[in-house]
Every structure is written in structure tokens, then in C-alpha cells.
Subunit: 138 residues, 4 copies
């Protein structure tokens, strides 16, 4: 038997709060997943893109379930690189575009944040703001 | 050109609040969709079922996009009834199990609530609590 | 080698015209497929349901590609009947709810009409109106 | 509550008309989506490709729901660029090949046109012809 730690809903809300607080003028879709990659909480800010609903959820899924930031997959899957083509895996759910970051506690992945609607760099900055707020609040 | 009204994120939060307030001792997945059925906000209460994530999202999708409570589809699609078999449409997204209710304002569907994790009757009661709280707050 | 006859776009427009002409006060989604079940033309009338987009397209697909009215599948797939469960085939695309009718010329299926947004009986009446108008115009 | 404007069916027909009017000798699939990316109208000209049915529909979906021309995604997702790999998102529905253009009215995206069957540049020219005709007719 084993015991795993994972985010609960109040943690998820703190992460959402941190994401919203970084005001960069781009309405975002923000998804929080647990350690298995399953959705805990989601918000689409007014003006967030419809396409970004699934993308944010899948960035959080990827970052949690693969225990890896999505932009790292982007780097590892360039043409000629070993993970080339990984982006279409799992019916296209494996996201390699930045904006999905694992949430770690004591070096252990306990969940993830996925953000979409801006540029990948903006998405990643908002996801990082969620993590920073969560660490500070913890 | 036409003009349509739909829920915004602050409306979605009021609906989530109303759903959570009905304390029946069953942790739920609660999804709020806009008038086209696209996800606006979602929460999985601690203990909410993993299978219910998609089910709640699809109940909200169905109730908004078909402008019909999901339990009404259940009644209309019994064996021998004209809509029998509708439940597998749209890749299985068309939900006929109770717990998806349209949100109406002035007789117009502006979004929907989808609830899952309890019995269909419990899910429906929680969705109704969301609507009641929203009307009272409006 | 073989030669097949199938609907062209001007036929598809005649079918759409016939479907629209039956004014029953329910805004419909109307899809016209060729003999292989592939979409030729589609219209969502103002107020047609979002869920009915895929359903209308899949009714036309089923009626053309299986050369069978969708309501006949409904009858043949009731519990205890040999085709029970066929509705979830092809990822749920095989529609057994009324509203999909093959278009026949000289006893040969050359395409189909799929209608959705009303009750299955209303959908079927509108699909029939499309066929009647097409025959009269032919 | 918020209010959004979107295309209606008569607008969609004007867009189809404009797309057909650009006679470049390539039979096209042409899809018109509303502001949420959902299909409003579709025509496959005689000889339009079967593969282009879904591609045209998904180009219109992407351009409307992401409020961005599909060729812009193509540029932003080249190997080494931040959005690399975005094309397999949403089950592959996110199209990055030219031919999907948002329809804007007063700076607001109210829908989109998606065209497929020619080269991406031809598809884009036909989608642009639809927009130009719509603006002129408006």
C-alpha cells in the first residue's frame, strides 16, 4: 500500500487566485488538476478563448500526469529530438506548448496548473504566478 | 446579426455557491456552461468522483446546448419512445441522466448547471439549488 | 468498374429548400449527405440547437451510408431485438432516432437528409418535406 | 450576464455567396461558424474534397473560437517557436493551416469562415473573398 499527497479543492482555489492576480490584460482559461491529472477546478475569465478550455485542462493533465512542465516537452520534441511527435499522443491530450506546470510539495508532484488564451509565454507566467502564490500561502 | 445573452464568470460563481450550499453529505462535481454549452467554471469537491468530472461537464453542455433538462431526455428516450438511443449521440456527450438543468433568464437559456457524483435525484436537487440561489441573488 | 449516381450541390440546395418550407415553428438543423454519407450542405436555422449540429449530420450520414431511415434502426434496436446496442457504433455516429431519411432515385440511394432540433417526429416530418420537394422538383 | 453578437443564418449565406463568387477553378468546402465556433452553414462544391469537409469545419471552429486566423497559428507554431505542437490540440481540431479567418464587426469576432480543398493560399483567398463580400453587403 502507498499513500499519496494531492491537492484538495481549497488548494485549487488558492492556485486559481494566484493565477488571476497576475494582471496582464489577457483573459485566461485556468485549470487545476490533481496528482493523477484529473480536473479539480476550472475558470474561464470573461473573454477567455473557447479553444483554450480544453487546452488549459490538457496542459494541467499533462503537467500533473507526466510530472513535467509542458514547455519542457516542447523542447524535447523538436524535429530530430527523441520525443518528436509526442504531441499527438493520448488523442492529442499530451500538450507540449508552455502553460502547464506541476505543483510540487517537498519535491513531490501533487497536482498541476494549466493556463491558456495568451501566448505560451504569457500562459506560463500566469501558471507560475499560481505556483508562487500557493507556495507563499502554504 | 443577432445578439444573445449569456452567463459570465461572476454568474457562474454564484451558481457554484448555490450548489455547494445544499449540504446533502455527498461531495459533488459541479460544472457551469455558457449558452453554447462551453465550460465556464468547474469544481470537484473533495471526494467527488473522477468519472463525474466529464459527466458533470457533459450534463451542463447538454442542458445548455439542447436547452433541455437532462432528466427530460431520460424520460423521452426510454425503450419504445421516439428519442430512444439519443444518449450515445455526439460521441456520448449527450447526457440523459438527471443533474443537468438550463439556466433561464426572461425565458431565454443563458447557460446551464451540470452536477454529478450522487444519485441522479441528488444531482438534480443540487443543480436546482444552484438555480434557486442564482435567481434569488439576481 | 462501376458508376454511382449521387446528389450534387444543387440537389442538396433543393432538399434544404424543401426542409425549410415546412413551417412548423421549430428552428432546425438540416444536413444533406451524399451517397457515401459525407456532408454536402448544412444549415442551422436561427435558434436551432447546438447539440443538433452533429446529430443532424450523423442522421444524414447514417441514412445514406446504411441506406436506411434512422427511425427504422430505432425499431430494430429495441431491447431484445437483434440490433440492440447498434446506437453506440462508430463512436456514436450511428443514429437510431428519427429524422434521417435516405434520398432515393429509381430505387437507388443517392444521398440523405438529416434533421434535428424538434421531437423525432417533427424532425422526420421536415426530412420528409425535403424529399417530397426534391421529387416534385426533379 | 453579458451580451454577445454573432452571425445569423442570413449572414452565413452572404459569406458563402462571397466565397463562391471568387472563381479560381478549384471546387471548395466552405464552412461558416458562429462566435463560439459552432457550425452555422456549410457547402461542398461539386468536386470538393471529402477530407476537406472536417478541415473546413475545423478551420472555421478555430478561427472563431480562438479569434485568430489559422495561418497565424501556422507561423507561431513552426519548430522552435513557442506554439510548436499546438496543431494536435483539441483532438486535432485546432487547425494551423491557412484558410480559416475570423469575421469581425466593430473589432469584435462574431464568427468565422473556413475553406479547404485548394492550396492553403487558395483557401485563404477564398475565405478573404467571403469576408470582403460580407463587409460590402453589410
Amino acid at each position: 500500500m502507498k499513500t499519496i499527497r494531492e491537492l484538495d479543492l481549497s488548494d485549487a482555489r488558492k492556485l486559481l487566485e494566484g493565477a488571476r492576480a497576475l494582471e496582464i490584460g489577457v483573459p485566461m482559461c485556468i485549470a487545476i488538476a490533481d496528482s493523477a491529472g484529473n480536473l479539480l477546478a476550472f475558470e474561464r475569465m470573461d473573454g477567455g478563448k473557447i479553444t483554450s478550455i480544453v487546452i488549459a485542462i490538457d496542459k494541467a493533465f499533462t503537467a500533473a500526469a507526466a510530472r513535467k512542465a509542458t514547455h519542457e516537452y516542447g523542447e524535447a520534441s523538436q524535429p530530430g529530438s527523441p520525443a518528436y511527435g509526442i504531441n499527438s499522443a493520448i488523442g492529442g491530450r499530451l500538450m507540449i506548448v508552455g502553460g502547464g506546470l506541476p505543483v510540487q510539495v517537498d519535491g513531490e508532484v501533487v497536482g498541476a496548473v494549466g493556463v491558456s488564451s495568451g501566448t505560451p509565454l504569457q500562459d506560463r507566467a500566469v501558471a507560475q504566478a499560481a505556483l508562487d502564490h500557493f507556495s507563499a500561502a502554504g
